[in-house]
Amino acid sequence: MTKKLEELEAFVVEGKVAIPATYSAGTVGSRFLIEMRDNKRIMGMRCSKCGIVYVPPRSTCESCFDKLDEWVEVSDTGTILTYTVACQPSPVLPAEPPVIYGIIRLDGAGTGFVHMLGEVKPEELKVGMRVKAVFKEERTASVLDIKYFRPLK
């Protein structure tokens, strides 16, 4: 019953791995999301040693490894550090393409905040552009409570 390897046939089984997950935002992450939901405020965390203001906030300083607990409110306006226009459909995109992503340094923050950009034509985008957060009406304590950042007129 010996066969040549080439004569053997492989089957392809289409399937999935589906294990729902629930991620804890934690104490710091929760406060950040709750402030956005309840007060449309964007909160950062300042390292009192290094002076860096992290947005989104974090509980450990990237630089000195200190525990952080100094909350500061940052502005909902900021400057685009970089951007991209995602043009092709993908199962993970939150909307039909094109979807514009950007990293925005909010006024008062020491880091860039990754989010989406809207109300802007792709060809008008540029690094250094001033933008402002547009909050959703219905907010659920999610990073998507910010709809996107739009250019400041």
């Binding site: 294990i19 629930t22 804890s24």
Partner: protein, 389 residues
């Protein structure tokens, strides 16, 4: 020749079933901070970080990347390993080699698992793809159920003995501030009246699902000499993996197969001049996902003869004050954050050697201890620790 490697820092989280107050990275950070504090080192003193975690459990691809800053890994060398249940031990092994080789002089080992995120049993079931075996295999519990049945018949162990293992674990856990399940059990009757998960595994025969992390700081002899008076030396490590058993599953349907534990312990003992393990080793922290596994592992690790594992528990030999204490910490039966579990085994064994285990310090003076891990399809990693080399 190779540098000697010491454990100079030990840290773990308080283990709980749910941790909504921290994300995965922050949870690992708690253990990392504790280990650094214990070692009296700062994050900048660490050269490498080796981590372990099972990605499909939490559904995070490259979780070590997400958690890099919290693990003090930024700007440092390191990588993640994963070998199923043994992952944490694999991380200890690779960090050990990093230092022994001279590629690093200090290394953090970080194991973590946040069980309140995903579904652990489902994650384990996904060890099998639908291409083969997933039809009949339903995760780890079925495997352990099968093994328990085989063992019962072969050795004459009874359900009472399994209950005694839980009782021993619970006594340890109640003395261990970090343990998750502290039931305060009074006797075996209470355990024997708990319901079955999958026959013959009762709820209390099985390990819980835990959120927790454990971190170790490993250092070269030179560094260890400078920072601690109580280094715990990693004398040797061994890893033995194996094929799935004949039924294409993790459990041995016959009770006759060669076990990775046999091969690993035989080689490890031989290399290290251990002829009578119960005499030459002072205590063990083993990875026992079920009460039955603990009794079987006594045999596989040659702590006793074949079919006599249950007698060790019956006679109290492996109790905290016994002749050869096993899992005085309460073991996996009390606390099981899988990615961290083997790291906890090493941490607890090291604490026993240092004499720092507090209320669950064993009666016997511990100069040599062994920590083991179980993963994959019955894979084994063993780590031998000594007070002096």
């Amino acid at each position: 020749m190779a540098n000697r490697v010491a454990i100079v820092g030990i840290g773990q989280t308080f283990h709980k079933s749910k941790r909504p107050d921290v994300n995965q990275a922050e949870m690992a950070n708690e253990a990392v901070r504790a280990a650094l504090t214990d070692a009296q080192l700062g994050s900048k003193d660490i050269e490498a970080v080796v981590s372990s975690n099972m990605e499909p459990f939490e559904g995070v691809y490259l979780p070590d990347h997400w958690m890099a800053s919290e693990m003090a890994a930024c700007g440092k060398s390191g990588f993640k390993v994963a070998t199923g249940g043994t992952s944490g031990a694999s991380a200890v092994v690779e960090a050990f080699h990093l230092i022994a080789s001279g590629l690093a002089s200090t290394s953090l080992v970080v194991g973590f698992q946040k069980h309140d995120t995903g579904d652990t049993q489902a994650g384990m079931t996904a060890c099998m793809t639908p291409v083969f075996g997933s039809g009949a295999t339903t995760g780890a519990i079925s495997e352990f159920a099968n093994q328990a049945l085989v063992y019962m018949e072969k050795s004459g162990a009874k359900e009472e003995h399994a209950a005694m293992v839980r009782l021993k674990a619970d006594r340890g856990a109640c003395r261990n501030p970090y343990a998750q399940l502290k039931l305060g059990l009074k006797g075996v009757e209470e355990i024997l009246s708990s319901g079955y998960l999958e026959w013959p595994i009762r709820i209390l025969d099985f390990c819980p699902q835990t959120c927790g992390a454990c971190a170790l700081v490993l250092a070269s002899e030179e560094i260890a000499g400078k920072i601690t008076r109580k280094p715990v030396w990693i004398a040797d490590t061994i890893t033995v993996h194996q094929e799935p058993f004949r039924a294409g599953s993790f459990g041995d349907p016959t009770g006759l197969e060669t076990y990775s534990q046999d091969v690993a312990s035989t080689k490890l003992y031989k290399r290290n001049g251990i002829t009578n393990p119960r005499k030459d080793i002072d205590m063990a922290e083993i990875y026992e996902p079920s009460t039955w596994e603990e009794m079987m592992h006594y045999e596989h690790y040659h702590f006793c003869d074949e079919n006599e594992g249950w007698k060790l528990i019956e006679k109290g030999i492996t109790a905290i004050e016994g002749e050869f204490p096993v899992n005085p910490s309460g073991g996996v039966l009390s606390t099981n954050p899988i990615g961290a579990t083997p790291v906890i085994r090493v941490a607890e064994a090291a604490l026993q050697i240092r004499g720092d285990a507090g209320e669950h310090q064993v009666t016997r003076d511990v100069k040599t201890a062994v920590a083991t891990a179980l993963g994959g399809c019955n894979w084994t990693t063993m780590i031998l620790l000594r007070r002096s080399l």
